[in-house]
């Protein structure tokens, strides 16, 4: 590999509401093993932390409408995504198992309006931690899994069904086995709910055994992690692995450690839906990397 190829591969383009941001250091991977044509480009959408069932007018007076608006916004994207992934906290927690299932059922019905039929789901702690994922699995199946799409290997890691935020030895062994034998230059995208690194443990923004997952991923040269949980964009590297959290679709949270308590950011009537949105991720075969776009719930 020549230096130029390496530079092009270490390229990430982030598109936010405020314009384009360029960040280096992400090992891009699209087009791996493929001729540099656009044939294998693709685009997927990440939605997260929809918290269906949440009620709190001070944080989101449109809690019953935001998810519908997000579904409509995805349907109105200029190009249909190859697939959509929800990275957890589909519903807001409840102690009542019956109510939990009602919320999961309503959520599934609402997102059934997505035009794209390839939709992947993951649990968050609000969905799964009080019953070890039992209800969630009844609706959405296995809580961790992998799949391939146009040459990219996707791995969904469940770090919430254990209320102590552990991935657990069994799943870590599965992860290792799932990746075993793969070419170490081949692209891997990890989808998960909590950060796999200690972003801010004081606010429970961590996975207790996340470092073990990162250790398993580390030999692979092109790994990118997309997650939720913290209700805001955040971008961090652990070694050569890039971690990108996405905005919530219910309320925003403050930046890690920016204030004494993790008090959610109040709804701003002057700027409704500010801090809420979803993400598009596009592979770029020609420039080799991922293009990430953050979308508002409603167009300004």
């Amino acid at each position: 590999m020549d230096d130029n190829a390496c530079n092009r591969r270490d390229f990430l383009k982030l598109a936010g509401l405020g314009g384009l941001v360029f960040a280096s250091g992400l090992p891009g991977c699209a087009g791996y093993g493929q001729p540099e044509s656009g044939d294998r480009d693709f685009f997927f959408v990440q939605l997260t932390d929809t918290h269906w069932g949440f009620q709190g007018p001070a944080l989101n007076p449109d809690a019953g409408g935001t998810l519908h608006k997000a579904v409509a916004a995805v349907n109105e994207l200029p190009a249909a995504p190859d697939f959509v992934v929800f990275t957890g906290d589909l519903t807001h927690t409840t102690d009542d198992p019956k109510e939990r299932r009602r919320r999961l059922g309503e959520f599934r019905e609402i997102v059934g309006a997505l035009k794209v039929r390839n939709v992947r789901f993951m649990p968050g702690e609000h969905d799964a931690s009080l019953d070890n994922g039992q209800a969630w699995k009844e609706f959405f199946g296995p809580s961790y899994y992998s799949f391939d799409h146009k040459g990219v290997h996707f791995v969904a890691i469940d770090n919430v069904s254990d209320p102590a935020a552990r991935i657990g030895d069994a799943q870590l062994a599965w992860l290792k086995a799932d990746l075993a034998g793969r070419d170490r230059e081949s692209p891997v995208v990890v989808l998960t709910h909590r950060p796999l690194f200690d972003l801010y443990p004081q606010w429970d923004w961590a996975t207790r055994d996340g470092a073990q997952a990162v250790d398993i991923l580390m030999p692979y040269r092109n790994v990118t992690v997309f997650y939720g949980h913290i209700h805001q964009e955040h971008h961090q590297m652990t070694g050569h692995i890039a971690h990108h959290s996405a905005m919530s679709l219910i309320f925003a949270l403050p930046a890690p450690g920016s204030q004494p308590k993790r008090v959610p950011i109040a709804w701003d009537a002057a700027q409704p839906y500010r801090g809420l949105g979803f993400r598009g991720v596009r592979t770029e075969t020609r420039s080799t990397g991922y293009q990430i776009t953050e979308y508002p719930v409603r167009k300004a």
């Binding site: 927690t93 102690d95 209320p163 935020a165 004081q202 429970d204 308590k261």
Partner: protein, 120 residues
């Protein structure tokens, strides 16, 4: 009562006291601080310590399994209902440090935290 008999009784009383304390064996100068966790708070939620003061934290849960995590001092434990969780702490720095529940316990779990204030 003979001196031997007094020594025997005194020893017996000490043994009985140690048994009643279960696994709790106090180090010299160690203070016990009892903390009750319940949805979604700790009581007390503000703890005052002196730097280098050894303390034994005894934690119980009034309802469901909780966690207790003090990242600054790398101290954590599960708090299981019906059991007393014990962790030792000897703060080596002054300041105010957060502790929090790291076992998801329901709505408002995110608010379940407290502080340890260590004075020099």
């Amino acid at each position: 009562m003979t001196p031997q008999r007094r020594r025997f009784l005194r020893t017996g009383i000490l043994v009985a006291a140690s048994s009643a304390l279960g696994a709790r064996v106090l180090a010299q100068g160690e203070r016990i601080i009892r903390i009750t966790a319940r949805k979604f708070e700790y009581e007390p939620s503000a703890i005052e310590l002196r730097k280098d003061e050894p303390v034994l934290l005894e934690l119980v849960s009034a309802d469901v399994t909780m966690g207790f995590n003090v990242p600054a001092f790398k101290v954590r434990t599960d708090i299981v209902p019906g059991q007393v969780a014990r962790v030792r702490l000897k703060p080596d720095q002054a300041g105010t440090f957060d502790f929090y529940c790291d076992v998801f316990c329901g709505d408002f779990h995110e608010d379940m935290s407290g502080t340890i204030r260590v004075t020099a």
